[in-house]
Symmetry: C2
Subunit: 352 residues, 2 copies
């Protein structure tokens, strides 16, 4: 058999693996403080599931309930615009396959799975640094707010780009994985009815439930229908349906959590500032720093059992998620303080 087109792409580190952390820092004190992801450490409250949650097939009607609740929560025109999926990740190659193989431009640096998915779909992929260049693509991808630096592209600019792409049969993908804590007014969730546009929303990050695998594509009903056919029936597990329906309906929790996370992000910036590091961006779920000695800081924290995210191709950058407990905050404070003290140039710190 000859395997059809689609390039082999290899795997990518995304953080979030304690296994990898232990391999990198074998002598570090356990438990690890895992700040290598942008997942909310304050999970949505767990609740009892129906007795049949694991045994019965998902009810088709429950997936429709979830689509309706998600449409309201995210501001999509209707449930017909919403495709629930077992995480947005599994949708990426399917979305990239909606347009004929051509040029895919990803506004970078950003989450690397978009480039990988576009390559699987047969596109010639390039990461571009200029927003304007995206209009030259057949498939353009913008993560908004961006991961890891938090850069936000305005809704007006994105709508202009979508119109240009649509006019030539192209597609704009806006990954709003972190828009729950971003500037809601810049979301394109309400604009998907016009076509030529797919918006992605993640469930696990803001709700702190990454293990259940749930995400959504928002799109014109023709695109949504096509993606649903690819997923087939029962793509979302029953526990995920139940958590999705409850948490996405819970506007009070969402409002309070945005405030909680904003405070935590501010506290994290202060912790870095005390160590002489100025946070240069991010969202309320992760912060981004760009310093010459990022590699040294990564290692110093790792040896203390604190895992942040480094980037193989950008050695001066780090991403740091939010500690979840006072013990974790304290371990981070101490490790940052020790690193700051150790890095003082020889002589400078010698006052006696």
């Amino acid at each position: 058999m000859t395997l059809l087109a689609g390039r082999r792409t290899g795997t990518v580190d995304h953080g979030g693996s304690l296994e990898r952390a232990r391999a990198l820092f074998p002598g570090a004190p356990e438990p690890f403080v895992d700040l290598s992801t942008g997942i909310n450490p304050n999970s949505y409250p767990l609740f009892e599931l129906p007795a049949t949650a694991l045994s019965r097939l998902p009810e088709p009607g429950r997936a429709r309930d979830l689509a309706a609740v998600a449409a309201t929560a995210y501001g999509a025109p209707s449930a017909a615009n919403v495709v629930p999926a077992p995480g947005t990740q599994i949708l990426l190659p399917r979305i990239a396959s909606l347009v004929r193989p051509g040029r895919a431009f990803v506004l970078g640096p950003t989450y690397q799975e978009h480039a990988r998915a576009a390559a699987i779909a047969g596109h010639q992929v390039a990461e571009v640094r200029s927003f304007e260049r995206l209009a030259e693509a057949d498939l353009a991808v913008v993560v908004n707010p961006n991961n890891p630096d938090g850069r936000v592209v305005s809704r007006a600019d994105l709508l202009g780009l979508a119109e240009k792409l649509r006019a030539k049969g192209g597609l704009l993908v806006v990954d709003e994985a972190f828009m729950d804590v971003g500037p809601q007014a810049q979301s394109l969730a309400g604009d998907v009815e016009q076509g030529g546009l797919v918006v992605l929303r993640s469930f696990g990050k803001f709700y702190g439930l990454a293990g259940i695998r749930l995400g959504f594509a928002l799109a014109h009903p023709d695109i949504a229908g096509r993606l649903e056919e690819e997923l087939g029936p029962w793509s979302v597990a029953v526990p995920s349906l139940e958590y999705g329906v409850k948490a996405l309906s819970d506007a009070d929790w969402q409002r309070e959590m945005r405030t909680t996370l904003a405070h935590a992000a501010h506290r994290l910036d202060q912790a870095f500032a005390r160590a002489g590091v100025i946070v240069t961006g991010g969202t309320s779920l992760f912060r981004h720093v760009d310093i010459p000695d990022a590699a040294g800081l990564f290692k110093a924290l790792g040896r203390e059992g604190i895992l942040v995210r480094s980037f193989a191709d950008r050695p001066t950058q780090l991403r740091c998620g939010l500690p979840g407990t006072e013990i974790e905050w304290r371990r981070l404070d101490i490790a940052l303080g020790d690193w700051a003290q150790d890095r003082q140039p020889v002589g400078e710190g010698a006052v006696s």
Copy 2:
């Protein structure tokens, strides 16, 4: 945007929806006895999940653990041949897309999602009744044992077919969704290393955990790698990983459950026989009947709150799963008895 090739296919009834049952039989006594699926009513024992099961991303290493355990349980050569997925359903269009659009033949009548998936992948799809005709296809699909009639194709015949298809760049898909209760010696799980062959195994049916969405493709590592790339990282939720690792390792439970299910299937055949219905096939997870008055039996059972599976295109056939409790067995016995009594020709039953 012009949506690329791939036919819109509509939805298919598969049983298992209480919502649909209530719409069909609004006056029926609740709770429904749902015998419309082939899902084991004796679920694998539930257990406590790790505290982080819902909050953290799945560990890549845990998916590898699951692949290794599944390789042993199913008899695949190694973990490199195993692709864990959130249900086999989501894999079907991806597998059908491994071969260039051509002729897809599905040995039928059978589970209808295979034809739908092949159509999505751009194939010209036909359901064929003769096993020999499958060799003319580019993509051939055999469900083994078959759903709903339990027909088994021998491993020798399937290997011969796979060789013919492989020689011309085609692909054989063998869906062993019910092989856990089928003749293990006819499984092709151990033969996937030769290529041109994908074997599907379902987790939720035999282990009675359909709600968690877990299934596997077994294939040559080149094909397995390609499918894994399409799924991307974290495609299987943490609870599904944990149940998969534990249940697939539990050979004692598997052995005892095969015996339990064989007894239950025999008991179900006897219940039908008492009502004058001869069961004509199936597996230990569902039984298949073919009688002129199948529609009448479907309705008579439905009105008593007992849902079996009917087939729009085969009005004489029904599929019936296993009752899970003595109360369910008793309700089925009574409903079958009442139906048998009511259908006696006028006069025949009048003895006084």
